[in-house]
Homo-oligomer: 361 residues x 4
Amino acid sequence: MLRVGIVGATGVVGQQFVVALQAHPWFRISWLAASDRSANLTYADALRDRKTGARRWFCDEEPSGEVLNLTVDSVNQFDPGRVDVLFTAIESDQARELEPVFARTTPVISTASAFRNEPDVPLIIPGINSDHFRLIERQREQRGWKGFIAPNPNCTTVGLAISLRPLQARFGVKSVVMTSLQSMSGAGRSPGVSGLDILDNVIPYIPGEEEKVEAETRKILGKLDDSAVTLAPFDVSCTCTRVNVSEGHTESVFVGLGRPASVDDVRDTFASFAPDFSDRDLPSAPRQMIVVNDDPFRPQPRLDRVVDDGMATVVGRVRADGVLPNGIKYVLVSHNTKMGAAKGCVLAAEVLVKKGYVPGS
Amino acid sequence: MLRVGIVGATGVVGQQFVVALQAHPWFRISWLAASDRSANLTYADALRDRKTGARRWFCDEEPSGEVLNLTVDSVNQFDPGRVDVLFTAIESDQARELEPVFARTTPVISTASAFRNEPDVPLIIPGINSDHFRLIERQREQRGWKGFIAPNPNCTTVGLAISLRPLQARFGVKSVVMTSLQSMSGAGRSPGVSGLDILDNVIPYIPGEEEKVEAETRKILGKLDDSAVTLAPFDVSCTCTRVNVSEGHTESVFVGLGRPASVDDVRDTFASFAPDFSDRDLPSAPRQMIVVNDDPFRPQPRLDRVVDDGMATVVGRVRADGVLPNGIKYVLVSHNTKMGAAKGCVLAAEVLVKKGYVPGS
Amino acid sequence: MLRVGIVGATGVVGQQFVVALQAHPWFRISWLAASDRSANLTYADALRDRKTGARRWFCDEEPSGEVLNLTVDSVNQFDPGRVDVLFTAIESDQARELEPVFARTTPVISTASAFRNEPDVPLIIPGINSDHFRLIERQREQRGWKGFIAPNPNCTTVGLAISLRPLQARFGVKSVVMTSLQSMSGAGRSPGVSGLDILDNVIPYIPGEEEKVEAETRKILGKLDDSAVTLAPFDVSCTCTRVNVSEGHTESVFVGLGRPASVDDVRDTFASFAPDFSDRDLPSAPRQMIVVNDDPFRPQPRLDRVVDDGMATVVGRVRADGVLPNGIKYVLVSHNTKMGAAKGCVLAAEVLVKKGYVPGS
Amino acid sequence: MLRVGIVGATGVVGQQFVVALQAHPWFRISWLAASDRSANLTYADALRDRKTGARRWFCDEEPSGEVLNLTVDSVNQFDPGRVDVLFTAIESDQARELEPVFARTTPVISTASAFRNEPDVPLIIPGINSDHFRLIERQREQRGWKGFIAPNPNCTTVGLAISLRPLQARFGVKSVVMTSLQSMSGAGRSPGVSGLDILDNVIPYIPGEEEKVEAETRKILGKLDDSAVTLAPFDVSCTCTRVNVSEGHTESVFVGLGRPASVDDVRDTFASFAPDFSDRDLPSAPRQMIVVNDDPFRPQPRLDRVVDDGMATVVGRVRADGVLPNGIKYVLVSHNTKMGAAKGCVLAAEVLVKKGYVPGS
């Protein structure tokens, strides 16, 4: 069993790491870190609301008794001897400062956007571009680290890039226009989206989101040559909105392909997509990366976010588009806090273990 | 005062006609028609639920005492001597049968889609393409009618076509990609959208909607030559979804313009758009057809559907788009049951009166 | 394995029976019946929407392939030789006519209210008043049936009566005041609650509900003497409302006890309640009939309806009440379509099998 | 015109004061105060979000240009020479400190709970117990103030106490059991209720609310003798819950009356209730304090919170209750941020002006 640490363990994403890791067959949670005011408390006590005493727990799955009894450290009490790999769930500013310290000795899998655009940092979706993990070698060499930083992409990028991958491989992709209908959980919890703002409403702007999706999609689907990623040679244009949904991002996608393709060919290309991990025994891997639902009223976030415990991207409504050259259009649903966040990071860690990037394994 | 009739007066759209007409300075409601089971009841009694006795009234504004006391006729009791103009709020199948009967003698302004695609039938948004009303002359001549049929467009088309009009006039429009986030009121009431289906959810399909928007937009923005409309020479591609919003459609629009334009130019073109009715004294006309809101978090349906009592189209988030040639993108909110339905029809009737198409006026 | 039939198999409650029975260790679904227009179709085809072809399936759990391949019969094609027990999910009017026909030969466990108030018909919540099943003997004798009718109570009654049972046993109950905040699933699906009616709203009336809760609670908690139930000697007064929740009824309860009791005593009485089935190996039984949650912000329907797969009643906020004599008050959440409907019926069937009321077992 | 100040002008309740006062025929907004970081900004600038520049405005009605141009002061820059009366919209802790300073010279009408329970402080609902304003004389005498503090009650108390007043006057009130279904706006905005917490949910606890309602109702309906209020001699027992509604509290009320009364008598007693202000020309007064809606599905918060611009209490579903002695039950809807907060305070100020308690008037 590898020993894993969770940094930012009391927040929403940290809790999702706990859920994804507490019964994991390969990993054992050995270190929980959070802000100073949680330090030296048990995890159970650190979760308690100071005023009301109620437990602030946001996942459907409950934390195990074992995890609740762990003592939480301050993030500054990091001891590289206690963990083999770290999962971080902290704000970007803090990540920029702390993660390089951790990475000197330890592999860091991060949900922060701080290092996503650095040329020696791989931006990976497991199953889609795991070959980019080779950038870790360049990163280690350049920075003199024994560990590394491997961030996950933005949750809205994840579903989009997964769905584009098989199209790119088979037909080529020339252009992408996307409108997202994002769930509230992507906005976190402190305070997150106000109930008064979202009731009977749509909020048509999520600061920074569109730029992230546009840049990250091209890096993920770019080509790795001599330890550098050339961005994929197509444009992405997005409008990102928030709707009154708890979990699961819906995306309306229009794609210009590299050559003509029938709707049936596109549909079958989605359905038959095989991820790039040859070994299907990764504990967090979905049975299918992309599930096609032919019911014209699907995918719907409430019904489809749960497919394969949130690790599948569900695609439907594949149709021809008359505007983009060789245009097709479809709708997808992706679980933004499962494959799009903590559990996607755990799957990435599993790939890294298989590839030998995690010492001790 | 012109005498107006409402056909389908007890349904949701019929009720919206009542609200738009009951205090109108030019029009007086003189005839209400509905299905046989409402015939010979007062409007108040016809609105009553058979089981519970509760009034089935769906508008925010209350019906006046005068209207509640009118006796409802069956649609078959139509007497052309009693009305100068008819507003119809019936299903497409019924419209196909009844409206030609009415139109023999009487102007018919219709919310049904039955005749929208006929070559001699104008598809009008007042302020946008009122010149197309000239098709009425051809329609009368060909069909031997004294009246005519003038349908309104689909509610989702309305906001889109209004926003495209000034772009087309100033820059040209080459291509349109649109994703809608539509409100529940567009689906009517019997039964309409189920609360269980839409809670915590998005429904990514509205049967027939995308085809309507794609075809109608090109007809509305087409050119009228010698009594025939040439469709506007650009492609429209849509994905139409339903979200948990009561009233007000949100649309995420990407447009390829005919020539390069800065974001500021596009913004100012929206803001300075003047409708095609020279006389601003039309009682139902908005003060501005298009209102630009520069707050990046706007437009929002709950806040912006009420601008100018639902008669303005509110546009925001104007940005450059990197995919379509000379691309720009924006978000709009349009009130689907005000400008997009009954009150838009009343505004059309006002234009028709001004233009002399309504005898008796 | 006992062979079970589901009458009304295509509706929402029928689907919930399918889910509760398809992997049951004691029961095998051998007969599905529905209206004539479903007859002779496979269950998969009978679920299909006539217009769109989409599957009309409303449960979170999917139907098994085996069930989807069963052929649906008309309700009139009942053959007593094919089933050992019937679960009915039909409207009250239809139940009044069909269930006595079925009961001549076969045990009928019903979700309809048609026979709940008949003196020889037991109204059972398994774990609470299973001794009332003895009424079946009187019923068989009086009506000359080999089978019987055993209806489940109204879904709102279920949580209330479960929570009152331990209070009645330990302290006595003198009076009950209850306000319910009920979920939409209780209103069914055709059409059920309209999304437009419930958005940003509360509907303060559910026809017939309050009368049912007031009468049924007293019958369930009444005493069985010589084959007749004497209603429990206390008054129940309810106001039943509908809120924008998908599943799970919340009830705000005020109880006047038979003698003074501390809040701690009441809390512990809930927590230590043991159901009346001695054998804990009933497959659908919850581990605990009543779960006490001491977090002051609980129970909440979204979080607590899932406890023990919807078979537990979750109680919280136990406090003293200053109005009723020996008053206490609390809040409960009960899953209205699990313990409150289909799965509660299946648990009742398990008790009936154990007690020997189902021939063939 | 009297000059009025608003303390806490940038918050939600402060904004509601702006809306209620900006076009008032008697009052002119002459002073806006907020925290130090808003000081010396125009009101328009003080409303701006620091990060995004968007205006943080939460009311349906827009602020006038005149108000937007006023300069905001710090609360510490209070100059008694500039205002005749103050409205405060600040937290209870701050109110405890600041309001006595203001009251030395100036009438203070407060939305904070800090002084509601002081024996020399009147707790008033205009129309219900305006005679309690006589306590102001005792307050001035005891505290040596020229001004005074007059707080409004908790928003949940307001609808309840209004509905109880006519029952108390005609039949007597012996006991009250109430369950509230409260809207989100009562929880404010920073951060208020999280969208993730309330979606598909009910939150059964609002800290401190039940105690406030139970105590305040008895003070408001108590008797003033020799400058002291004797609490009304009945018990009130509440459970307060939060539901997914934006504005408007719904309350399910059970009342034990002092003598038997028919449902019709109770209904008519509500409908004919006349407030205690003889002069009906108060600009903010509703046409009717209590509106009875006989539709069994009413009152509903979305439909009934707007009656008389939120100043009426709408009552429905009057029925007999079998538990409380001489019991009746009903449902009410009250607008928590209109009559229940800012606009109710403005109505109180109008009464105070009429009664001569506001010098300068």
